[in-house]
Symmetry: C2
């Protein structure tokens, strides 16, 4: 093997890639990770992670990210900042285009994650994770007997609104136009509307998220040209996922209808030697526990793939 060819290039350095790197480097498989934004991914910018298994009282997202980072580095992972803009196969190796330069490796793991789509109003970025949320499974439990505003009108918005009724005393659902969710979901929502626990505001958009000293406390809305305010303890936004797969558009790697990467049972993509794990994978749960579990499984598949290359 030429020293110009890495064993593995991992694209992204969130929990899934960091876990995969713990596994590969612990087995002396030379591994380099390219990250274009934050080491630790979405976990790093999450206030408190309450449901990552092993930390009974929860752990700050930043701290968890830092510990994953340290663990991967302890075993020898190299982490570099770099923006990957493309990927293709060349014989037995995979070429990643990193900051415009070709980087060769025997195998690649794509673990670039997905971002939640934003409504892009003032206050949204400012209170991210501290009053403004995108994952009901992760953060819903912080709102027992509190008031919530939910933004969105599709299947996920209605499904998560129904889910949040088990915590919230009242939910205002802001829908830009009309409800687009399936009939089954709309029917399932109806009893909560009838009981007054959920109020649906059609043709209504948020214009600003506001806070006082103790945190988010109201949302400015606009409906039929009229502005008003809704009091709330928190805001959940469910307007879709944006998988970080734009860089794959000319690669030939198969994506699903929303742009997540399709994989087989070994977490291999449609391009041999290229694997995917975590929130960028079709079927992802957007949970750190699952991202980490898939990272470990992907590393074992990569080891097997590299062993077979040598035979």
């Amino acid at each position: 093997m030429s020293s110009d060819i890495h064993d593995v290039v991992m694209i992204g350095a969130g929990p899934s890639a960091l876990t995969a790197a713990i596994y590969t480097t612990r087995e002396d498989i030379e591994t380099v990770l390219y990250e274009k934004a934050v080491i630790g991914g979405l976990a790093a910018i999450t206030d408190v992670v309450d449901n990552y298994p092993g930390f009974p009282d929860g752990i700050e997202g930043m701290k968890l990210a830092d510990q994953l980072h340290q663990q991967a580095v302890r075993f020898g992972a190299k982490i570099a900042f770099g923006d990957v803009s493309g990927l293709h196969r060349d014989g037995d190796s995979i070429v990643s285009i990193v900051d415009g330069q070709e980087v060769r490796s025997r195998a690649v793991l794509i673990a670039t994650g997905s971002d939640y789509k934003k409504v892009s109003v003032p206050g949204e970025a400012e209170y991210y994770g501290r009053g403004v949320h995108y994952c009901a499974t992760c953060d819903g439990a912080f709102y027992r007997d509190k008031k919530l505003v939910v933004i969105g009108g599709g299947n996920s918005a209605v499904q998560e609104t129904i889910f949040l009724t088990r915590y919230a005393s009242h939910i205002d659902l802001l829908v830009r136009s009309s409800l687009k969710a399936s009939d089954v979901l709309q029917k399932a929502l109806q009893p909560f509307v009838d009981s007054g626990q959920v109020t649906i505001h059609l043709e209504t958009v948020p214009t600003e998220i506001l806070a006082n000293d103790t945190g988010v406390n109201r949302v400015k809305i606009k409906s039929n040209g009229t502005e008003s305010e809704i009091e709330t303890d928190g805001v959940f936004v469910f307007i879709g996922l944006k998988p970080n797969t734009d860089f794959l558009k000319d690669s030939g790697i198969e994506l699903d209808e929303i742009g997540l990467i399709k994989t087989n049972q070994h977490l291999e993509t449609s391009m041999s030697g290229v694997f995917a794990s975590g929130d960028v994978r079709s079927g992802a749960t957007m949970q750190i526990a699952s991202a980490v579990g898939e990272g470990a499984a992907a590393a074992l598949s990569i080891r097997e793939y590299l062993d077979e290359l040598k035979r």
Copy 2:
């Protein structure tokens, strides 16, 4: 819903079930776990877990198990000791036979794990995890530049021997009769035999694992009626897995050829409403990270299943 019917019964209380319970109970899904042996499963009896993501310097298996346990209990999981001997569907509910009594639930998670098959010689149980190992991915890295004895002659024994050559200075491979591994694997092993890094002992069985003050230091062997000893720093046993699925034999739940449970992409078994995750699932990696990831994913599938029951 009758109070006689649990929302979810989980069979087993290892890392996968405890994680699933963290997720379900945090979402107010009433959950009871039945464990017949050790809370924390194999993790609890592992000396040091080096590759569970989030603990940069490793963590004692017992401590990790304890923290998972605490976290599940914090959100309201009920954990009981009980031996489940059977499972069947009855209309909309699942009946588990626990210590001879019927326990009803809307959904069931099977997370009973798998055990490694034992050679059953003196010293094996005594030095479990402290010189006697069953997982090369987990514990191989503790044996850099050390001597090892590997026991087994099938595919996994040869594959893991090849893998362990990246750490160990020398490996004695003890094979009860002749090598049963595939030709491809035997061919891949040959260079290590030629170089002297691996010595194969055919028709040889271990009779005792011995230690001095600093740990395991030799293995007593018997070959053609003659006894002798091999010096070593550690022993790896690869003679197969024993999935904990005997209790399912009359359930109709589909198992694979070695007795692991088959699941679909939602981790649902062939019996509707019954899910499986972790080391008992066909395709399992025998890694805590993956068991935990699947536990989270299974919990989300269970939530969805329960929501649909209500519609």
